[in-house]
Symmetry: D2
Subunit: 364 residues, 4 copies
């Protein structure tokens, strides 16, 4: 399969470029009889969409989703669900500079060498704008998981640049432009982001994705382990450079006597594993961390070459996020939802006799 | 597809349990006319095999590979290549304890809940012994990559427990039992590992995988990016809990003006990206780090439950690696080779007119 | 993968129902740099579309295709190509009868039992209207094949009901409403079809699909043989009940001394194989026959049951083809094109060193 | 995926050449807890194996199967099941003639052009000997289907050359060397086959495959319809040139008023569809016909060319079936079983809430 399909049984195939006519996807493999309308999808798109605060790109997109197929009388039918999001803000401009040159940190150079042609308008297919389709599909997966297992998935930013963000409460996440589970540091973060923007630079971010009410038994060893597929999903988000499950890189210096989560008749005593053992969910909460690189488009001049191999100086002006990580939370939630739903269906195919249920022992 | 096949065009499907009759795999999609014999595969298996030093499990396995098909008169024919490794040291013993109870940190609990049945002998399918098949297949991929592009892949341990291992030279890697690119710290590491073993405990490890002479253009956005597939491959290795590409989690605190690798007419000036931009190889060296958790089987008693939900105390005696990370280097090399070869063939399918070649600008 | 994706490397995923908002597909894996616009696609859609003669359904659909992505400055970019066809003639009517009952010969009964829900408007997803998306995608495959190898694919009707249609010349195919390679029998066929329609009944049809200028070497034994994949493609067209390659069922009574095509230094002497040996193309012309069942929707009353298991009498009035086979030619051409292009790319992935070229010996 | 894997959820990947060391396969996706041993598989292999009568090849192969993995304490574990069949009768001989020349009707020519290398010993990978692995895997699918749904699959020869074989009773099928559901014509068939062999020629055959106790709802429109996947499976058997579902090519001359199977509260009145509507099983019996070409290896001299393009005369002496169709019955049964089991699991993944059960109305 070419690279624009995700999943094995619950699959999404996305299309669209940053400044093309439309974005969207086809979801194939959604079980029938799920109640579904645009209203189930739009809220997640709204969380991801640009222009919501001064700390993100000022591009204006309604990001309105239209369901074209697969739903009849308010319910899924088992037929493929096509979702369409028309691009509205395709600001006409002179791309001369970008069209000819490779912006440092961007995919310009690699797309050019791979395909021999490149849609340079706003990054074309390599733009994070494509993730709108993933978020839309993820909203469907979230809904299904919630109805089946009560699964809840939440992502939040735990570090921006060198600023660690203390976890206070998940209730704060959507009350600030940083997707921070925090209330007390917001003013400090606002100032920090303003200073980054004024310095014509950008910073990276770290996010945590946390899922609870997970059925035990999801994951298909030995290659399509749940953790492997989560890593694939997360590293497949634009700008992600690192993925951790559970204690992640913290395990290097741990002792086995600490790491291995002990069990009691009432459940696991700890959750160093992040809810996955042997590539299969334990029924405990799943914890994932991701590292997102600083935005490559910055207003500072940088050295590069053009298509003819000549030296150029490039600075990116215009509508760009000073920290792309700030809008990654809805995307990361969506990707985790897609993985979990796909694995729930995969599990069901082969193990119908073994119930997919949250374990009767207490989660940690 | 169920979970035991890896790759899309160059695929391997593995089989076998720790204490079953045999391990092996079928490789499908290997191009014809590659010269191949067991002698091309055995050296990598020998690096991975147990019993080579006092710091790893003392299980004795010859790990001799037999090519059953797909090779004729010393060359691959395009037909599937079946590789067989018979298990020889299936030490007969009483598994009563393990058979009934779930060892902390192991896949016992999850396999039981997923499948309703569990081959408890040595961990069955969840044992890292299965990776012998991957290493065997990876040796074929390595050979093909070397002949096509001159690609070289090397993995080494950069940290064991809290001990960081300085990089001195790759020439040392196979001269010590730690797969360390280091000569001066080996005595210290020997003592350290002895102390861990004596304390009846285990430690984690960090490895770096480094590949050079990579063609530009490998990777299939937006989901099967090269970095996403590497993450999938690495997180799919037993005990891996974290994966980094390039600067990895280091990007969180970086500025965009530092991270984005500048280009000059003679090549990239830096390699913070780890050789991948937009999910496609840049032609620079690929750098990956992985975190491996401490061995779960330790001789210290730990709390757990049995299949009836009753409390038990478990300690694992016998042949176990005090640091499973020490034998992970050949596995990580193999997995990276499998990803790269698969992507080289995927690229070739769709972009025959665009040459898959190392860029003419200098690699960093 | 769920069932709405076709192909392995050049893939199409279709969506849409007969009376939904739109039909369409995403094509993933199209090589970059192919010149493409709607004008390359529309002519094939026009051949398939309804309402073009009195012998087919009178539903009016413009079937205008819009390319939403994957094309930049007139060329494919390697990114997924989304095609959209809005439904325009969604005649509002009372579906009460059909909504509750299972029409004989239709998929009503099976969709209901499979999914527990059924979009009954015009057959929903099971309608042949869905094939518009395939025809659109097939037009792209045809163009690519023509440019790469000079491949030409043509389908024509060789039998309608008990009327065999003599092959006169391919030039006639688009000059009559029967897709017949014939000029002299057209008046007779017109009368025949009129009589069928007046008798409130329908008839089956047989089609031949003929492809020339085929590269040698396409097909991936042992399961994805070229003939096996053609059979999959053809039997996957609505109403097809039989598929033949080369001499087809005629081989049963043949002798080996007749069937096995002899070779001479200037080429094959005969083509009983239909251009495929061992599942791989020989470079000769490919010949396929398909059998299409009579239209299930007829104005004659038939016995059936409703969703409550009660007896009902059903007759279908309105816009229906008295011989669905008459519009199958463009669909069959499209499906063969999709198979051939997919296999050309699959071949290229694994056998780059072996040229995909038409053989230098003469085709028959 | 390369071409040696069959199925999507219940998959088999085969390996092995006619005169290689071994044949076999890996089955991935078999549900756990199925009781399984070699004794469940061997009987089907014995039906397919050569040398059982004077009417088939006299090659002697024990075709003994060994289960290498995936079964523990007599039950499947959910892990991949590897099956191994060692070749024993690799008669050493001079292949000089065959090694250099392309036998008419064989895959010699196409394998050579596709791969640039060819294992000429006994046809290598293109030999029907490979189907032993399919039969072995099919035996597992048959067992699972029987236990889940009571499904029974039987194939028999209905025509050999110009001799039609009347259906008398399925009980006769394994009492004669022709897999004929017939007792009275056996003597006549014996003479007929003797005369074919004496004339140094071969003939084709037609087989019917009949499956009963089929759950309603199997099949994944629009591409992976049950009938499409059956066609793929059947046309993928060596030497098959035609496939029919239900009335097959007989539908061409049918009227819609005849073909569309009427329903009553107690079930379908007829079964012209062959048990499949809209690509989904109706719960009725499935009926498939296949056409198998005459054996290409005959002792009569035929014209061909060698690898250097020079004219040669070829006759095949030695151990060959005068009618390959005679041994195809177990293979066709196996392939249908593989399709049905795969689709049962696919259905289960997406439609767990909709029971996969035989319909409560009477089958025909």
């Amino acid at each position: 399969m070419p690279g624009n399909t995700f999943g094995q049984i619950f699959t999404i195939t996305t299309f669209g470029e940053s400044h093309g006519k439309a974005l969207g996807c086809i979801i194939d493999g959604c079980p029938p009889l799920l109640e579904l309308s645009e209203a189930d999808i739009q809220p997640d798109l709204d969380k991801r969409k640009p222009g919501t605060s001064r700390h993100v790109t000022q591009r204006r997109e309604a990001d309105e989703v239209e369901i074209l197929s697969g739903v009849f009388e308010g319910k899924t039918t088992g037929a493929p669900i096509a979702l369409l999001i028309r691009n509205t803000d395709q600001r006409s401009k002179d791309y001369g500079n970008i069209a000819e040159s490779f912006r440092p940190g961007h995919a310009d150079y690699t797309y050019w060498h791979k395909y021999g042609i490149r849609d340079y308008r706003g990054g074309g297919r390599s733009s994070a704008r494509e993730t709108a389709a993933r978020v839309a599909a993820g909203a469907i997966a979230k809904k299904w998981l919630r109805e089946q297992f009560g699964t809840e998935i939440v992502a939040y930013v735990t570090q921006v640049g060198e600023k660690e963000i203390a976890f206070e409460s998940e209730t704060h996440i959507h009350d600030n432009p940083f997707f921070a589970a925090n209330e007390s540091q917001i003013t400090e973060l606002e100032s920090y982001m303003d200073s980054i923007r004024k310095s014509l630079d950008s910073v990276g971010a770290k996010l945590t994705i946390h899922a609870r009410n997970i059925p035990v038994g999801l994951g298909e060893p030995v290659f399509d382990r749940l953790d492997a597929d989560i890593a694939h999903a997360m590293m497949g988000i634009n700008a992600v450079k690192g993925v951790e499950i559970g204690d992640g890189f913290g395990v290097v210096a741990q002792r086995g006597s600490v790491h291995g989560d002990e069990l009691t008749p009432t459940g696991f005593k700890t959750n160093h594993s992040g809810g996955i053992l042997g590539g299969i969910s334990t029924g405990q909460d799943i914890r994932v961390n991701i590292a997102i690189k600083p935005t490559s488009s910055i207003a500072t001049e940088r050295e590069s070459i053009n298509m003819h191999g000549e030296s150029v100086q490039l600075a990116t002006h215009g509508r760009h996020d000073p920290c792309v990580g700030l809008r990654a939370a809805p995307i990361a939630e969506a990707m985790l939802a897609l993985v979990l739903m796909d694995h729930a269906l995969r599990h069901r195919a082969q193990n119908a006799d073994v119930s997919v249920s949250t374990p009767d022992i207490e989660n940690l």
